[in-house]
């Protein structure tokens, strides 16, 4: 086999691998879409293409009174947005202090923040249950904002601190010379250049809050206050022997498509943010 042949074979092998990877990553979601467009007995044919596609399943998700899916989407949207706003606000001020100011105990604080991000969620389950009931947050969608901070805040602080630390010194020095207060430095000097980092961390926090399941399942029992992941896990049929896979898949596609769109738009930034959080340390 000469060099030329070897090269061609190598290229074929590479493209085969690429095809396998693409199929592996995309097929399940593709199949979910196909299923969501099937109805009636066709659901059980396991064909890879809907013979007579219809959006019946999608419409059904919004017309069942006992299962207010639209309301659940709205709950998820609102609680995730609240979590993002709170995490970013706290994260910006904390990351300025941790990233730009030298003071004793800073290392220990950063370590604590990182350690909290590794927390198993169940470790706070019973304590959080008591707290939620005591302050009246239990059983309300907005109450979930509090437990969600346990995973979004450490992550936000950590990624923003790595970002802020790498900003040039001169930026701040000039402001100090001009007699700018620390608060002024944050809002007028750092905030304008932090937008890329804010978008990334905000998006990642949003996704994390949108996907959360255990706290939502445990702390909200009120049907109207449920969030989307719990909602999907509870979709049931007319009787207990019939699982409405078409509807479940329609709901799944609905809550996933916006996320995929966001992730694809911010692709580069997300990869950067993820790796900053995990590898750079």
């Amino acid at each position: 086999m000469n060099y030329q042949q070897q090269k061609i074979l190598g290229a074929i092998g590479l493209y085969l691998l690429v095809a396998v990877i693409a199929l592996f990553c995309l097929f399940p979601f593709y199949f979910a879409i196909v299923t969501s467009l099937k109805s009636g007995t066709e659901l059980f044919s396991s064909s890879l293409w809907p013979a007579s596609p219809s959006i019946k399943n999608y419409i059904a998700m919004f017309t069942v009174a006992e299962h207010p899916f639209g309301r659940h989407i709205l709950n998820s949207l609102m609680v995730s947005t609240l979590v993002v706003i709170a995490s970013l606000f706290l994260g910006v001020t904390a990351s300025y202090a941790l990233g730009r100011i030298q003071f004793r105990g800073r290392g220990l604080l950063l370590l604590t923040v990182l350690a909290v991000s590794m927390f198993p969620q169940v470790a706070v389950l019973s304590g959080m249950f008591e707290l939620m009931q005591a302050i009246g947050f239990y059983n309300h969608w907005w109450g979930l904002t509090l437990p969600y901070m346990v995973f979004t805040l450490p992550f936000t602080v950590w990624v923003l601190t790595t970002f802020v630390r790498d900003l040039p010194k001169e930026l701040e020095e000039a402001a100090i010379m001009d007699g700018c207060t620390p608060w002024g430095i944050i809002t007028k000097v750092f905030l304008p250049v932090m937008w890329p980092a804010l978008v990334t961390t905000g998006l990642l926090a949003f996704i994390a809050a949108w996907n959360e399941f255990m706290f939502a399942l445990t702390f909200v029992l009120n049907n109207a206050d449920r969030t989307v992941p719990v909602s999907i896990s509870l979709i049931s049929g007319a009787d207990k022997y019939e699982i409405p896979w078409g509807k479940i898949m329609a709901a799944s596609v609905l809550v996933t498509l916006p996320l995929i769109a966001l992730v694809l738009i911010f692709q580069r930034k997300i990869v950067g943010g993820l790796t900053a959080g995990a590898v750079k340390g």
């Binding site: 003071f103 198993p120 509090l146 896979w245 590898v279």
Partner: protein
């Protein structure tokens, strides 16, 4: 001049603490306080109602080493056959096999994504799709694919002649845990691949050129040059994923509900606290889980060589 500098330093230190105060307060409220209460409850016989009106009793180490404690080594059926023993075994089996598979596949994915080919940006985007899908959705999607009667997996495997009858992938104790591992691998291999890809892209190119000039076989170059160079980053990614896998809940809960054959430690804790209303006992189990994950976190921080002095 020097008094002025130290005054400035003092003022900056003061403002640092002011800026940190709200974050520290929230972290103490959502992590420190509840964790402390959970550990406290592990020494009580609390139930969910008793939490509200404080009508529980201190029971010492009963929940840990008592007759019905989490470390009941004298259980008639043997410790590893108790539900908690099963939960520990399941969690470690799940974590070990998913992280090993994800790492191996992740390296392969990363090497492919690092190569030069047409449509590379498309594949990089495709790889993000499983990661972007909510865990609960991927669990439902796969539960449908693996459905015993109408699932496409059984249909495909049957038509390929690999199996001759439908298999209940998520219900059969022989397959349930492996099904869950498969879904986790599907969902997180891309994440692993991206972490490894980031490490690959930071590698110096000159040693590869030297190896190419010397005519060294690519496979040899991979094991002698690439692997040692990305090893630290790889280890950090592995432990990072391991910490995630050890606290698994969603996938297992949705795909196999509370079946003892697959229940994870997190699932066990939630079942005891919420479904069975044994807050004290469940809290003891969750304290043990917290300690295990804490130990792994220390290992992670050591390996990641997190430098706080910078």
């Amino acid at each position: 001049m020097s008094t002025k500098t130290s005054e400035l330093t003092r003022e900056r230190t003061r403002s640092a603490w002011i800026f940190l105060a709200p974050t520290l307060l929230v972290l103490a409220l959502v992590a420190g306080w509840p964790l402390g209460r959970t550990i406290f409850f592990s020494f009580t016989d609390a139930s969910l109602e008793a939490i509200g009106d404080s009508t529980y009793n201190m029971v010492g180490f009963q929940n840990y080493f008592g007759e019905y404690g989490v470390f009941n080594l004298n259980a008639v059926e043997g410790f590893w056959s108790t539900d908690w023993g099963m939960a520990i075994r399941n969690t470690f089996k799940f974590s070990f096999f998913s992280v090993v598979t994800e790492t191996l596949l992740g390296v392969i994915f990363a090497l492919v994504l690092n190569a030069n080919f047409k449509g590379r940006s498309f594949i990089r985007a495709a790889v993000l799709v499983p990661w972007a899908i909510p865990t609960i959705v991927s669990a439902k999607m796969w539960a449908w694919i693996m459905n015993d009667q109408f699932g496409v997996m059984n249909a495909l495997l049957r038509s390929a002649g690999i199996i001759d009858h439908n298999i209940a992938w998520t219900a059969d104790p022989h397959f349930a845990l492996w099904s869950v591992v498969l879904v986790d691998v599907w969902k997180t291999t891309p994440f692993m691949a991206l972490l490894i890809l980031a490490a690959l892209q930071m590698l110096p190119t000159d040693c590869y050129e030297a190896a190419h000039v010397d005519g060294i076989h690519p496979v040899r170059v991979f094991f002698k040059v690439t692997v040692p160079l990305i090893w630290p980053a790889l280890m950090v990614a592995v432990i990072f994923r391991l910490l995630d896998a050890l606290r698994v809940f969603d996938i297992i809960y949705v795909m196999t509900s509370n079946s003892v054959d697959t229940i994870s430690m997190s699932g066990f804790v939630r079942r005891e606290i919420v479904d069975n209303n044994y807050v004290g006992y469940g809290s003891a189990a969750s304290t043990v889980l917290f300690l295990i994950i804490g130990a792994c976190t220390v290992l992670y921080l050591k390996l990641a060589k997190v430098d706080m002095s910078k």
